[in-house]
């Protein structure tokens, strides 16, 4: 059993759980993570020192108040919907709250980016490929988008018309480059039997270095000391619509992401290609038996996954940065956690991305507002994934509620399931 097959077994088990069960487990995981996080906040509130206690439990003062931390987190992510400073645990809604605010824009920005990377990872996972390489695909896809836009922009009329031509093309270029970069581990897997977990990890490192060199040596912005490309003109980027300036969020990109979710779902569930892809992900031998060209499907799925990652990079460049800059955030790795929480279901990616987007954008507010280091959110993310990984834990916790459907009842000809005892 190769690492890939392990991964496949993992994915199989995740997809095996029924939808309801998965949603229940995700919620339970979230609650457990929040509870454990609260304990961590309290403990760290005893380690650090402060002048006033934020909360007092059992006669002991703590520097951090978990309830406050979580409230601030949501308030920060959503733009102050609650009046935090009012007494009591249940805070009243803020009458002045406007959903089109800066904090919410940040949350949606993260969500949009995570939808792309989450989809990228989900597609590869569904194809039974443990693509850890979305990050590298995103880095190079984003760079390609930035360079393409930079060189082509002068040839186009500036303004809306130019943007309408350039932006879609730039996204396509990003997708192509990301896709081709994703196809490399696909081809290595298909034709050289090289483990894609290793190759994608290696390719992530390589992508970061290549992009760095390309920009620092050849395509850097001469006016900047930072390793970055020259900023694109405003008309060539995705500007915020409705949401305030500076939130780096464009509702167009989110709409595009949501459209992709539907497209990916359609591709996976409704087409012959999707059938091939899922079959090879579930059971490669059966796929081969069913006439699926395993090698080609591997390469194609990795291309597709890489293309989605590349689009994520394109959106990052066009919507967030307006240029490519070294030190690309770890959106590709976050995509893995999104996809895992989503059970690799394209539709599940949306709420999962929203959750992690909320956490990430709220984390800055937490550090700002309560002094609790923002890395707390990283811990929470890990905890959520940990709990999601162990449905058995919740089954044992709630053994009175039988979550597992009684599959065995349908066996009719003897005690053996699946005819194991020939």
């Amino acid at each position: 059993m190769s690492a890939t097959e392990n991964a496949k077994a993992v994915l199989r088990r995740l997809t095996a759980a029924s939808a309801t069960e998965r949603i229940l487990i995700s919620f339970a995981a979230l609650i457990m993570a929040v509870l454990v996080g609260a304990v961590i906040i309290l403990v760290s509130g005893r380690i650090t020192t402060c002048q006033t206690a934020a909360t007092t439990l059992f006669g002991t003062g703590f520097c951090y108040d978990p309830v406050e931390v979580y409230l601030v987190l949501f308030n920060g992510a959503l733009g102050e919907p609650f009046l935090v400073n009012s007494p009591g645990i249940l805070k009243p809604l803020n009458p002045d709250w406007n959903p089109l605010n800066f904090g919410f824009a940040l949350t949606l920005k993260e969500t949009t980016l995570l939808i792309f990377t989450g989809l990228s990872v989900a597609v590869s996972f569904r194809a039974g490929l443990f693509n850890i390489g979305t990050q590298g695909q995103l880095v190079l896809g984003g760079l390609a988008t930035a360079l393409f836009s930079f060189f082509v922009a002068p040839l186009l009329p500036s303004g809306l018309v130019g943007g309408l031509i350039l932006i879609p093309l730039a996204v396509v270029v990003g997708a192509l480059v990301g896709g081709l970069y994703g196809a490399i581990p696909g081809a290595l897997k298909a034709y050289a039997d090289a483990n894609e977990v290793i190759t994608t990890i290696m390719l992530n490192f390589i992508a970061a270095q290549i992009a760095f060199v390309l920009v620092s040596e050849f395509f850097g912005n001469p006016d900047s000391q930072v390793v970055e490309t020259t900023p694109l003109p405003d008309w060539a980027t995705l500007l915020p619509v409705a949401f305030p300036q500076g939130g780096d969020f464009s509702i167009l990109a989110l709409a595009f992401g949501l459209a992709l979710v539907v497209a990916v779902w359609f591709l996976l569930e409704q087409t012959s290609f999707g059938y091939d892809l899922r079959t090879s992900g579930e059971q490669p031998e059966a796929a081969e038996y069913g006439g699926v060209d395993a090698k080609r499907t591997t390469v194609t799925s990795m291309f597709l996954s890489g293309a989605l990652g590349g689009m994520g990079g394109a959106i990052w460049v066009l919507m967030v940065m307006g240029k490519w800059q070294a030190g690309v955030p770890a959106l590709g790795f976050d995509g893995i956690t999104v996809s895992i929480l989503a059970g690799n279901n394209p539709f599940g990616v949306v709420p999962a991305a929203l959750l992690f987007g909320t956490l990430k954008s709220g984390s800055l507010a937490v550090q700002f507002g309560t002094g609790v280091p923002k890395q707390l959110v990283g811990v929470l993310r890990g905890l959520i994934i940990l709990f999601v990984a162990m449905p058995e834990f919740f089954r044992m916790l709630g053994s009175t509620i039988d979550l597992e459907p009684d599959r065995e009842t349908v066996a009719t000809d003897g005690g053996s399931l699946g005819g194991d005892d020939e």
Binding site: S272, A286, Y289, E422
Partner: protein, 519 residues
């Protein structure tokens, strides 16, 4: 004679299923006791209980007259019980000696280190004592199945087993190896060991056992002495009614050639030649059978024909066209149906429901997927039709393949493949793991296809099946097609010799000894 094992009113329930229902079983010391029954009769479950792998829902296990409560195999081992499972419990990359002493390694240097020399010596001593032929330093993955089985027996003996349970020990052996195994049984019982073996083959039980207990639907339907019973009596006990044991195909005139295999060679997954220089052809309205002990190249041959394995030499032509290197997909499109030998690995996607499994192989066909989009409504109708016609139970198209029993999975695969309207049906072990009713049904359908003028390639390790259904029968041994015989005019013994690699006329010139043959 004293009682070695007494199972007292054992009942074992799994969710929704009663595997053993109030079973009594008494085994005398120093005897060979056969546990006979159809697949799914509860034989293995019962033995797993005796071996401590399962806990009985009700009932008691007595060993040597003492009531015992085994929590784990470790307890059973302590009580002197050893079990040789059908799938060997061996660690492939480790050596014979390492496997035999696993868990009870002799130690040296204050217990820090395995005393490998002593382990080797003990293995050699043990195998000499019972006349076994094993080399302690061979890796398990390099030795034949027969040797692996002997390693399993040695493993149990090394742990001081007095009672040996063997789960279908003959399924993977050549007739000659079977004889060798039964000789070992005699040796062991002569030294006071007790043997219980599970089988569904009447002849074997009659031949090797002193006592025979028949299980049916989880119940003990009778224990008889081997020398006081008859095949007919046992058969009736097993199935509860008289059955047609041997299907016979009426001779019919075959038509045009459908498949032709010329000098085909192929390697297995490890790159070792598995098929060498095989030639035969199949014509319309003909069943061509291939007999042989499992693992003699049949799988690789079939995979080469169906497009799952690239041949290393030779040619395959199908309906007059060369398809040696054609893709699997094009062969499916061209009307080649294939019932694979491993339904869990290949035949079904276990986590897909039957609707999705019903179009496996047809996902690109115009029937279900015009313009690349799958018509799930049609796919559902298709799956429900198969379920209906092939009596797949329970009739739930939305249930995952995994949730069906082996027999029903097989019926679904057979249905799906037969409904392709194929020109050639490649059927490997089509009745493996299905009940007798389903077996009859599948046999009838195969013969129907033949009558319709389709070509059938039937591969089975069940000699009676291939012999009964085939018009011509090829026998494979070690990758070679030993001979093509007329199954109607050849005896089981003759075929058995071919399966063991001996050509009656050229036996002296055959340089290579049969697989894992004992000296």
């Amino acid at each position: 004679m004293s009682t070695a094992v007494h199972l007292d009113e054992i009942t074992k329930r799994f969710p929704g299923v009663v595997a053993n229902d109030d079973v009594d079983l008494t085994v005398e010391r120093g005897t060979v006791h056969a546990l006979l029954g159809e697949n799914g009769a509860g034989k293995t479950t019962l033995m797993n209980i005796l071996y401590g792998l399962y806990e009985p829902t009700e009932g008691t296990v007595h060993v040597d007259g003492e009531p015992r409560d085994f929590d784990s195999p470790a307890d059973a081992i302590d009580a002197g019980i050893g079990m040789i499972h059908q799938h060997f419990m061996l660690v492939d990359p480790m050596t014979v000696a390492e496997n035999i002493v696993l868990g009870n390694e002799p130690r040296k240097w204050f217990g820090t280190t395995v005393d490998r020399e002593r382990a080797r010596q003990e293995v050699i001593d043990l195998s000499n004592r019972y006349g076994f032929d094993v080399t302690p330093d061979d890796a398990i993955e390099d030795v034949s199945v027969g040797v692996q089985q002997r390693v399993e027996i040695l493993k149990a003996l090394y742990r001081g087993a007095d009672i040996l349970i063997l789960d279908e020990p003959t399924a993977v052996l050549t007739p000659q190896e079977v004889e060798e195994l039964f000789r070992v049984f005699e040796e062991l019982t002569a030294q006071g060991k007790t043997i219980i073996f599970i089988s569904h083959k009447l002849g074997e039980a009659m031949h090797a056992a002193d006592d025979i207990t028949v299980l049916r639907n989880g119940k003990n339907v009778g224990t008889v002495k081997a020398d006081e019973t008859s095949n007919e009596e046992l058969a009736e006990l097993m199935v509860g009614r008289e059955v047609l044991l041997e299907p016979k195909a009426e001779p019919q005139e075959p038509g045009d050639e459908v498949l032709s295999v010329q000098n085909l060679s192929a390697k297995d997954n490890r790159g070792i030649p598995a098929v060498s220089d095989v030639s035969f052809d199949i014509r319309e309205g003909e069943v061509f059978g291939i007999a042989g002990v499992d693992g003699n190249g049949q799988s690789q041959l079939v995979e080469a024909i169906t497009g799952l394995r690239t041949p290393t030499g030779g040619a395959i032509s199908y309906k007059g066209r060369d398809v040696t290197n054609a893709s699997r997909r094009s062969r499916i499109a061209d009307g080649m149906a294939y019932i694979p030998e491993d339904r869990h690995e290949r035949g079904l996607v276990m986590d897909f429901d039957l609707v999705q499994n019903g179009i496996l192989g047809s996902q690109h066909s115009a029937t279900f997927a015009a313009d690349g989009r799958i018509n799930w409504a049609d796919a559902r109708d298709h799956a429900e039709r198969i379920i209906d016609e092939y009596d797949v139970r329970p009739p739930h198209a939305d249930a995952d393949a995994e949730s069906f029993s082996g027999g029903n999975q097989q019926k679904f695969i057979v249905g799906r493949e037969f409904e392709r309207e194929p020109d050639l049906v490649v059927a490997t072990h089509p009745t493996r793991g299905v009940d007798i009713g389903a077996m009859e049904f599948i046999h009838e359908r195969l013969l129907d296809l033949r009558a319709e003028g389709k070509a059938v390639l039937l591969v089975s390790s069940k000699l009676d099946e291939v012999q009964g259904l085939s018009d011509r029968l090829g026998v494979m041994h070690d990758g070679e097609l030993m001979d093509i015989v007329d199954p109607r005019n050849t005896t089981e013994e003759e075929i058995g010799l071919l399966m063991a690699g001996e050509r009656p006329d050229t036996a002296e010139t055959d340089a290579e000894p049969p697989v894992g043959d004992a000296k």
